[in-house]
């Protein structure tokens, strides 16, 4: 009995640890790759650097967002994500791997959006779609 208690405790603890470490990774990647423009609290700056706190907008574009992060947004060139929804450009970020993008999204989700978990398959699906455009 006591051993099973201990085991449960241990599992809960390690699960805890896993999730925080994923948010930590996401927080670090967000601060490194996104926060310069979007702000450390995702507050943005005017309309040029948009804030990232609008849950409704995120829900609406959930499928596109990983691709925007990876491939950027370019209003001038006839590239993938030509300003349908966008007021400004965003640089591409080929360094970011699907796991990084998923970590960043889950960190923001935890902090601001409260949507369902962004798992890595979903991110990869979006990147496949983005690549095919």
């Amino acid at each position: 009995m006591k051993i099973s208690h201990f085991l449960i405790f241990f599992f809960v603890l390690s699960a805890c640890n896993m999730s925080t470490s994923s948010f930590k990774e996401g927080a670090f990647m967000f601060d490194t790759h996104c926060a310069s423009c979007h702000g450390h609290e995702a507050e943005g700056l005017g309309q040029w650097y948009p804030p990232l706190k609008d849950t409704a907008y995120i829900r609406l574009h959930r499928r596109e967002i990983p691709s925007w992060i990876r491939y950027g947004i370019n209003r001038d060139k006839g590239s993938r994500f030509k300003g349908r929804f966008h007021q400004t450009d965003m640089p591409e970020n080929h360094i970011l791997q699907p796991a990084d993008i998923s970590n960043i999204l889950n960190y923001l989700n935890e902090k601001f959006w409260n949507l369902s978990h962004f798992d890595i398959n979903e991110v990869e699906e979006s990147l496949n779609w983005g690549r095919s455009l």
């Binding site: 310069s36 423009c37 702000g39 700056l45 005017g46 309309q47 040029w48 650097y49 007021q87 400004t88 450009d89 640089p91």
Partner: protein, 205 residues
């Protein structure tokens, strides 16, 4: 006892006086200086004329502000510029538009930062103070050459994000075009110190 008392009084007075001294302390004049036999000559930012986001010609010697805040940026810069701009915004919000300050933000991207793009940036970032000028040089090298007088560097570098490698200082100069203070534009605490220096400069006679 009496002696201790008077000693204490004296030292308190001394402290107060010294403190007052420090309060009136002027900002130093930065940069190289030379001597012409009778006077010390301080280095000056050379005069220039450029175009701002409203297609106005801006000449440095015609700006009337007691304080002049300068920085180097470009609109598609993905690294330090947004932070620098956030801090320029913060300085501008700390002093209101009535303060005697001109802001010059020099664009390092001659190719992409046209007047209309600078205008769009000005509006979308949310500037409203007409004394903030986003500057476009008359030729590709004018602003890069100017940078060294502001103790800044700017070189084209294909390996750098955005294609330009440059420093993120925010610089303070006076109406005689002398550099008086500067701060790292990406560091909020350093910019807080610069704000105090701007106040000092505005209070100079």
């Amino acid at each position: 006892m009496k002696r201790i008392c008077s000693n204490f009084l004296f030292s308190t007075l001394l402290l107060i006086t010294l403190n007052a001294c420090r309060h009136n302390e002027k900002l130093p004049i930065l940069g190289q200086r030379s001597w012409n036999g009778t006077d010390t000559l301080y280095s000056q930012i050379p005069d220039f004329t450029m175009t701002d986001q409203d297609n106005q010609k801006i000449q440095l010697t015609l700006l009337k502000g007691k304080a002049n805040v300068a920085c180097f940026f470009f609109t598609s810069c993905p690294t330090i510029c947004p932070k620098v701009m956030r801090n320029i915004m913060r300085i501008n919000q700390h002093f209101n538009s009535a303060a005697d300050i001109d802001y010059l933000c020099f664009s390092l991207d001659f190719k992409r930062d046209s007047i209309s793009r600078l205008n769009e940036y000005y509006n979308k970032v949310g500037f409203t103070n007409p004394r903030i000028h986003l500057m476009r040089g008359n030729d590709p090298d004018q602003i890069k050459n100017l940078a060294s007088y502001y103790m800044s560097t700017a070189v084209e570098d294909d390996s750098a994000p955005g294609g330009i490698n440059h420093s993120g200082w925010i610089l303070l100069s006076d109406h005689q075009r002398h550099l008086r203070s500067y701060a790292l534009g990406t560091d909020e605490k350093d910019v807080d110190r610069l704000i105090i220096d701007i106040e000092k400069l505005l209070n100079e006679n």
